[in-house]
């Protein structure tokens, strides 16, 4: 069949009618499942029976399928589902390297030469920079990261590093606590570092100092 044959057929199909939703139309989840091909055979047969005669749902399936093939959407889905990290390729390499360098500098700096001590929390101006509250030092367990509120700040970005400067967790929140998800597995005895930035204006952030903590090993069995 030639392109002009297909064009002619397309002309016959095209009614120019604007599709209207009915109470029998498919739920968003069914449209999504059709587009990603995850419906089981029985549910798919039921759904296709409707789509075969419904312009509205046919358009929705075609539209969502096209959206799922769109680069920026695919990228964001990969990010939220953990298959890809956010940021441009150069940054994906540069940021961990920079973080590692920063961590090493801080760990080896003369002000941090007392084992097991974190640098003075009270030395910062609590009004303009967030101050880490916990965890700091040796702790029994860690479920969240907590810091002080900064006046005028509506957003905080908290970052957790491993000892080599690798970013284990990063999140922006409105509150002064960030719950660690189960996917972040912390190993007893290993040192971890974290810091928080407070947004104080348009694209202006003030950073806390980097603090260290370790989860104490349990008593030997």
């Amino acid at each position: 069949m030639t392109d002009s044959d297909l064009d002619r057929l397309r002309g016959y199909f095209h009614t120019g009618e604007i599709p209207v939703a009915t109470p029998h139309c498919l739920e968003a989840e069914t449209v999504a499942a059709l587009a990603e091909g995850t419906l089981d055979a029985e549910a798919r047969a039921r759904a296709l029976k409707h789509v075969a005669t419904c312009l509205h749902c046919r358009g929705a399936v075609a539209s969502v399928t096209a959206a799922l093939a769109d680069g920026p959407i695919t990228h964001e889905i990969d990010v939220v589902e953990g298959r890809r990290r956010r940021g441009r390729p150069v940054l994906r390499v540069a940021v961990p390297l920079a973080a590692a360098a920063t961590v090493l500098l801080l760990l080896w700096s003369p002000t941090n030469d007392t084992p097991g001590m974190h640098r003075g929390v009270g030395t910062q101006n609590r009004d303009v920079v967030p101050v880490p509250v916990g965890p700091i030092g040796a702790v029994a367990n860690v479920h969240s990261l907590t810091w002080t509120r900064v006046i005028g700040s509506d957003r905080y970005r908290v970052t957790l590093f491993d000892a080599r400067g690798g970013v284990l967790y990063e999140r922006e929140v409105n509150d002064t606590t960030a719950a660690l998800p189960d996917s972040v597995r912390l190993i007893p005895g290993q040192p971890y570092l974290w810091k928080v930035h407070a947004r104080t204006g348009w694209d202006r952030w003030s950073a806390s100092e980097l603090v260290e903590f370790t989860i104490a090993r349990g008593p030997p069995q």
Partner: protein, 256 residues
């Protein structure tokens, strides 16, 4: 999820938005490009998702099993809300600005088809009676096709294609509107002889111009080759069936 289960709606919303904001924006930008439109639609999406203590999110989460991933479901919901926003709210006014750039005849077609959601036949009849347009239906369809192309190529093209459906090809005959209607009835008859899978595959591949790989995923066939086989076989069967009917849809053989 955990925050929702604890009934901490605000915390759950913050976490949700924190994680999915970029995906929501990406989905909106797939359909709308103007900055103001994107921000207005984002506000509408947030308003809708927050309604009744995050009812949409809670309903999705409460289901014991899911047929689609949450992210795909979210893209679908955002798509629906975006299209609705353009259909029902400020979008109509903004879409009207597209019409201002068209020649008078195509502007009228745009208004009938895209804004007032009339079929081509309805638009033709209205324009012939009210606007005294002296075009044949075939000439009218040429103008309709040109209007689709003109508005579909612009920055708002994708959303306009969503609102107006796929662009019709330029007709190669000067058909009268009643002949076109009869052909569509014949086509509907021929389509009804196909299985639902074949019919959806034909419509998605031919009308919506979806890639064969994507069609295969929707109808549950193994690959693109299966789509080509099924679709071309179905089209051949339809052509045979159509060729056995005369213009009024009656069988050409066995007539008395």
């Amino acid at each position: 999820m955990a925050e929702l289960q604890r009934g901490r709606i605000d915390a759950a919303w913050d976490l949700f938005l924190d994680r999915y904001r970029r995906l929501i924006f990406a989905a909106i930008r797939h359909y709308a490009q103007d900055y103001d439109d994107v921000m207005d639609v984002f506000a509408r999406v947030c308003e809708s998702l927050r309604e009744a203590d995050l009812k949409r999110l809670r309903t999705f989460i409460a289901q014991p099993t899911h047929t689609a991933r949450f992210s795909t479901w979210l893209v679908t919901v955002v798509r629906n809300l975006t299209i609705d926003w353009f259909r029902h709210r400020d979008g109509r006014r903004r879409l009207s600005t597209v019409a201002a750039e068209l020649p008078p005849l195509r502007r009228r077609i745009f208004e009938h088809v895209f804004l007032h959601k009339r079929s081509h036949v309805e638009a033709y009849e209205l324009m012939r009676s009210a606007d005294c347009v002296g075009l044949s239906f075939g000439q009218f369809l040429v103008e309709v096709s040109a209007t689709y192309r003109a508005v579909g190529d612009g920055r708002r093209g994708r959303i306009l294609r969503e609102l107006g459906g796929p662009a019709p090809p330029i007709p190669d005959t000067d058909d009268a509107s009643d002949t076109v209607s009869e052909r569509r009835e014949e086509l509907e008859d021929a389509l009804s002889a196909l299985s639902p899978e074949e019919r959806v595959a034909v419509e998605l591949y031919v009308v919506e111009e979806m890639p064969a790989e994507s069609v295969a995923k929707v109808v549950g066939w193994p690959n693109a080759k299966a789509v080509y086989n099924h679709v071309y076989r179905a089209l051949a069967a339809m052509r045979t069936r159509l060729s056995t009917l005369d213009g009024a849809g009656r069988p050409t053989s066995g007539k008395t």
